[in-house]
Symmetry: C2
Subunit: 326 residues, 2 copies
């Protein structure tokens, strides 16, 4: 047997000792995920809840909003991977085991969020809502375009997704500012991090984009004070979590005309109830929580790498601090 074959056999033996993974999601296709994971870890035993077999063999959980008490039987767990970027549904729960928790943050998800933010910002910067209205009336309504550099876009929250959106907007030619409580340095982006600069950050914006994660600190963080600090007619885009926004305050700012419009992908209650006032508001654009989703083919590579690392005694990729909530 050549040394190459010996090495391959050893690698296989090592992977065959990986054990099993339990999958739980009401929204994602288990077969699609299993196929994607097997492409990277053929030896991983993938079990879809509730068909979990011998629980002592299960070392990894890949889950989206599992029911209360879900983790209890899995005493041999070494890693919990959240099936998405937003971990707020995991970090707040009292039954979360004291284990490495990681989240998904793949290139496909970043690309998808970036495209959503570019779309929503450009829709406002290029006066598209005016042309949508003119189209319905059959009117040729010319509005002289402004250079992209004259549109000031603020990104609140410069995590992986927020940073990617900010840098793409700057690359396209927008005047981009960012705010994050950690100091950040992003190409082409004027970044603020001190709380006392928050008002200056907001005070000049044409468009504010919320990219904050939902944590105990950020719940209803975007309220009346934030909206009133924005210039008259500013637009608001929310593609992170509904609960980061004080929804009644947003409604009030839109109704009063202080805000010129909002593009909302996330809400306090989803699906957004049929009788919610947002539906009838001309200046609100609604998408059904899909600004960014996980693409199994892209994300499985990272999940496999995290499993390999934890199996080898290392930390997983994209680890979350449950106390901070991100």
């Amino acid at each position: 047997m050549s040394s190459g074959l010996v090495q391959m056999r050893e690698a296989q033996d090592e992977e065959s000792g990986l054990g099993a993974l339990v999958f739980y999601s009401e929204f994602d296709d288990p077969a699609e995920w299993a196929d994607a994971l097997r492409a990277y870890l053929p030896e991983l035993d993938i079990r879809v809840w509730p068909e979990v077999g011998e629980v002592s063999e299960i070392h990894y959980a890949l889950v989206w909003r599992p029911p209360s008490g879900f983790f209890e039987p899995f005493e041999a767990l070494k890693l919990v991977v959240n099936l998405g970027a937003g971990v707020d549904s995991l970090t707040g729960r009292p039954d979360l085991p004291d284990l490495p928790i990681s989240r998904l943050s793949d290139a496909g998800m970043v690309a998808m969020m970036r495209s959503y933010i570019l779309f929503a910002v450009t829709r406002y910067a290029r006066d598209i809502p005016e042309f949508e209205a003119a189209k319905r009336l059959g009117e040729w309504r010319y509005i002289h375009p402004r250079p992209l550099s004259s549109t000031k876009v603020g990104i609140l929250g410069l995590g992986i997704l927020g940073s990617a959106a900010a840098e793409a907007l700057a690359w396209l030619g927008y005047d981009v500012r960012g705010f994050d409580r950690r100091e950040k340095s992003l190409k082409g982006v004027t970044s603020f991090h001190r709380e006392e600069d928050f008002g200056a950050f907001l005070g000049e914006l044409d468009i504010l984009v919320n990219m904050l994660p939902l944590t105990p600190d950020t719940r209803s963080r975007i309220g009346p004070d934030v909206f009133s600090a924005l210039p008259q007619g500013a637009k608001f885009i929310n593609a992170s979590r509904g609960e980061v926004v004080d929804e009644p305050a947003l409604l009030e700012a839109l109704s009063s005309g202080h805000l010129g419009g909002a593009t909302l992908d996330v809400f306090w209650q989803e699906p957004l109830p049929k009788d919610h006032p947002f539906w009838a508001m001309e200046n609100v654009f609604i998408t059904p929580h899909l600004a960014s989703i996980t693409v199994p083919q892209d994300a499985a590579r990272d999940v496999a790498e995290s499993i390999r690392r934890v199996h080898g005694g290392e930390r997983p990729l994209h680890e979350v601090n449950p106390k901070l909530g991100y």
Copy 2:
């Protein structure tokens, strides 16, 4: 006098010998252009038609669709600059003097076109027309998003604006193909240039973007054969010139349902007549010819450089071949 001052004085003397420029446009603000040009060429004498003064002093014309016979009195002209990217209104006219003709192609115009194409493509790739309709009905209609890499976008015409759009779309993660009769090499873009590959280029596209200039060769180039070569349900975006498209064929392809939608910035007749069928079509989005405009502050730098070059006996920037029409 220091040698630095001598050089500066000589440079001023040289520029003061530049002579005068005549400006003509019914759409652009002469004062804005004069201010922008003076920032680069303070010595240039700028005259707004019809107040042209002594015509023998006029060496440069900066014009948008001047009337027939416009050029005749200006016997000392050395350069005609078209106030825009599309030179079709100039190159076809019989009274065009035999002089260097140049067009505008500034960074601001490129950025603006790029933002329009990204917007229009992303609107389709992210199912936005479905959400626009759902919003009007007050319906939460979830459509599972597809990875950007699964959307195949074809750019027809890889000039400066088409290339910029193609590269930006590829950078964002779309599957981008380009067609141009000249062989092109663009980052992340699969390019075709042979006429016999045109069908293969069209046959797989989700979205076709027309970026061809209007020339005698391209008039009505996009007709029934092109639309029928696209897959069922494909979308069409036109941000170059209306006349490149066979408009009745486009109407037919949209009405029959073979095309899934169109985003149109340009038309055979502009403003689009009130009774044109496009207005009433749900699957047509209309903008009033503003995908890209010239931004004087950005463009004046190039115009000034062209004037300096022609004054010094060189060729101008962005020169056009009137016989080819681009």
